[in-house]
Point group: C2
Chain length 378, copies 2
């Protein structure tokens, strides 16, 4: 049986990237290492759609989120938290650890926080320093209107911080044009890499707040990364083999073109939704994003058991719901190094498992609908 | 030309470990992933010589040091900093970021902080909460008497935190038997891995202080790692491909046996010192450790230029001094996946370069002395 990874992080990694990781380790302070970091930084600026430097942190995405919080908020300062799921709650966890005064704009799982809700919160809290938001709420499949957020936040003195961990590279996200002040992402999602690196970029407006905020971390102090990156270097021993491998995946992204990449994800996501619905299944997210498709487990079906069978019998590794959502939803990633044929196979496997379990569906309807929608897309 | 890495981190990585990194990425919340983390944790306990759990953090060694500081010190609490070089100064940087009240026990580069000095500082500062120390001061080649530190700190209420980043696995270090309360290390030194992971373990005495200390980080909060590790899991997406690779290197360490590993490093280090001195060169560290050999650049020799020639002409990558020490010393690592024959080659290359540059030495004396000392060792 052939194992296939469809979890919304980690995602499949191209062979040329994996092979980079198998090469002998080299010194991280050489001119060659600096040149590699320079290339990676330029390619990340392209992916982020920003003219600002993008810093490479050796940590998980959550470490990147902590950098966003610890560098911009003094203890007790007010933060607006837009939360629509588990990853909004991750922001809350970090904010609590840093003693922020949290004003939450909260919606139930499956729904999206709208720019109007955020605008109202900003009006009610003119002393809010930073808004924390989630581009792709991977726990529910919701995508947020960051362009809309950017417009309402730009009218205020607050900063807009974005967890783009499973969104950047999978869905349209234009840091500079949309007025996003802080964008964080991780290597193991749409950037086609194993986990271990996080990336963060800050607007000029954000730097002003950083410079006025007391130091609250050493390892995640963005001032240190800024100073080092000016010499194409890192302040601490970086995960340099990961950086070399990231370069390979970024070259692939650059060759495809960021707008083509977004279009590919949109086209696959739309086809996937059509396929899912043709199988008689319902989507979970009211505003689905293109990084993943999240399906409601139908009444009477064992959600977690179905995923176990999918993996055991056909090798397809989907993701279950997290925490209270376990068994309630199925999550299928189509991020990064995943194409239409991969996703078609994943739907085929789900059709087979559901049909074998006695769930009523027309075998073939799902894959045909996927194919039809994909062919009609562009 | 054949490139050979002798920097004191990163160090060479065994082929079987590198090949793990080239395997397809898998999901980090599977039972297989948990079993791997369980194995790695057990092997790390063996390497640390502790019965306490060892936590795997996805970050550089400095991130591990920050975990030691942020989890044990409230702002303004007193810390005794033992500093004998750049890595002692790294502790100082982290301590400053966390607003510690720092009492420094400082010696010039090349010298060691003795247990007596520490004892005096503890007597003068009975309110000190934590002592921060360095097992292998890689910037100078000094090794510290952690067994001696352990004895004096055990008599007090203070904790003993050890930066073991380039020491653990290269020189004797017994966390439990020596009374070390916090030990931190990184993957890219004697543990034969690329950079990207840090490891930390805490004694019961340390946990009591942690539980009484306000939360100052989310990503590096050791309570979260403790809770997750009880289920053989990690709180945040870990560098799971690195963890799999670390398992391979730990198996190698386990097969060799930790005491054999220490003995191997000691034997190579002693032979290396003999070789260096037979070349008419002087050692820099007054209390040299077995992780690396640090040599004073002789009068009239271009220190940095010699290293450039070594690399360009013979492929040997040694490390220069850092910051103010640049050009003053040469640093040769013999940590991890490096054996006597590797180090013999490195000395041979240095002899050739020095001789070619007109430095007066008897060609062959260095390698012969190395060989003789190595043969006499055990």
């Amino acid at each position: 049986m052939k194992p296939r990874l469809f979890t919304p992080g980690p995602t499949p990694v191209p062979e040329e990237t994996l092979l980079e990781l198998a090469k002998p380790v080299t010194y991280h302070r050489s001119s060659e290492a600096k040149a590699i970091l320079g290339e990676v930084t330029e390619d990340l600026k392209y992916v982020f759609q920003t003219a600002q430097p993008v810093f490479t942190l050796t940590c998980s995405g959550t470490g990147g989120m902590e950098a966003a919080v610890s560098n911009t908020l003094a203890a007790g300062e007010k933060a607006i938290l837009c939360t629509a799921g588990r990853w909004g709650e991750r922001w809350r966890g970090v904010l609590k650890a840093f003693a922020a005064n949290i004003v939450a704009v909260e919606v139930p799982y499956g729904q999206a926080v709208t720019p109007e809700m955020l605008e109202n919160a900003l009006k009610a809290n003119p002393d809010a320093k930073v808004v924390f938001s989630t581009l792709s709420e991977t726990s529910t499949g919701v995508g947020h209107d960051l362009e809309g957020y950017g417009k309402v936040v730009a009218k205020t003195d607050a900063l807009l911080a974005v967890d783009g961990i499973s969104g950047v590279g999978a869905m349209e996200c234009r840091m500079d044009a949309w007025g996003l002040d802080i964008v964080v992402t991780g290597s193991q999602k749409a950037l086609m890499m194993p986990p271990g690196l996080a990336f963060i970029s800050l607007s000029e407006k954000a730097w002003k707040k950083v410079d006025a905020t007391p130091v609250r971390s050493f390892y995640l102090d963005v001032r240190r990364y800024k100073k080092s990156l000016a010499e194409s270097d890192t302040p601490f021993t970086p995960g340099n083999t990961l950086i070399k491998a990231q370069r390979a995946s970024l070259k692939r992204i650059r060759a495809e073109g960021i707008e083509n990449l977004w279009a590919r994800h949109n086209r696959i996501a739309a086809a996937c939704r059509a396929g899912v619905q043709a199988m008689g299944l319902k989507l979970f997210a009211e505003r689905p994003n293109s990084a993943l498709t999240v399906i409601k487990v139908p009444e009477g079906v064992d959600g977690s058991g179905t995923l176990k069978t999918l993996e055991k019998k056909y090798g397809y590794k989907w993701a279950d719901g997290q925490d209270a959502m376990k068994g309630q939803i199925w999550r299928l990633s189509h991020m990064g190094y995943t194409d239409a044929f991969d996703v078609l196979g994943a739907l085929s496997a789900l059709e087979l498992v559901l049909s074998e379990a006695g769930f009523k569906l027309e075998v073939g309807a799902g894959v045909a609908a996927f194919q039809k929608a994909y062919a009609a897309g562009k």
